[in-house]
């Protein structure tokens, strides 16, 4: 039951991404290209997603725990640090070059297009290298 629901949640996300335009690099880059072929559609994606999540989370958090787990796993940090800012800045540079973000690319894999496979392979390589660098950094600091 739990796994069926998880699959359906993934599917809702995947369909949402696919119809929203977030899986389409041409559309994503046009959202940012205010000086050129501007397409403001993606503002509606983020707007819709944030409003629904804002309201839905408030309903969910009235419960003491999620249905299938012992507790909500939420980030608790509130400080701003260099990895957060530098990492986010770097993410934006990559997004601007490739036109895919992780949440856009993963559902797009389902179209079977080789471009998406290439992007996701490079994305995974980046994640693995960053994790290794993080480990080395923590070892050097301790």
């Amino acid at each position: 039951m739990k796994l069926v629901l998880l699959y359906l949640i993934g599917l809702i996300f995947g369909v949402g991404i696919a119809i929203s335009g977030m899986a389409n690099p041409a559309k994503v880059l046009n959202f940012f290209d205010v000086a050129g072929t501007w397409d403001p559609s993606l503002a509606f994606v983020m707007g819709g997603a944030v409003v629904v999540t804002f309201v839905g989370y408030r309903i969910v958090f009235r419960h003491s725990a999620p249905r299938f787990a012992s507790s909500f796993q939420l980030p608790t940090r509130r400080d701003l640090d260099v990895p957060l800012l530098g990492g986010s800045a770097l993410f934006g540079i990559g997004w601007g070059i490739a036109g895919f973000c992780p949440g856009g690319a993963l559902p797009a894999l389902g179209t079977g297009q080789m471009d998406v496979v290439v992007f996701v392979a490079a994305l995974i390589a980046g994640i693995v290298v960053a994790k290794m660098l993080g480990k080395i950094g923590r070892r050097a600091a301790s």
Partner: protein, 143 residues
Amino acid sequence: METAFTPLQSLAGGVLIGLSAVLLMGLMGRIMGATGVLAGFIAPAGLSDWTWRAVLLAGMVSGPAVVLLVTGQWPEVQVPMPRTMLIIGGFIVGLGVTFGGGCTSGHGVCGMARLSPRSIVATLTFMATTGITVFVVRHMLGL
């Protein structure tokens, strides 16, 4: 490359993305962040940790096929840039989201909805650098 303005379709997509984030929190107590789900799938904490991520990812990947079944058309995935840029961009995205602890879904949707200061700053930061990068790539380098 011009793309059509699709406010209703994009809004509907956004609502579904939000719905999936709410359901994942309500059922599993987890943030719907593509970065976190994928990173944990590559290096899971154990079998059950890997399983829920794998099933969620399988659902995500099925999305385009369901769109095809319902509408008779694959969702558009137009890639106007050369493959080298996908590789370079993809690698940089991987570094960035790992150090920054999230991407458009984790910080931009779930974190913003929780009014997390870290996510709000992260989102403003990557939206700004994406805009600058697109301007540089398209209007200064002419790629």
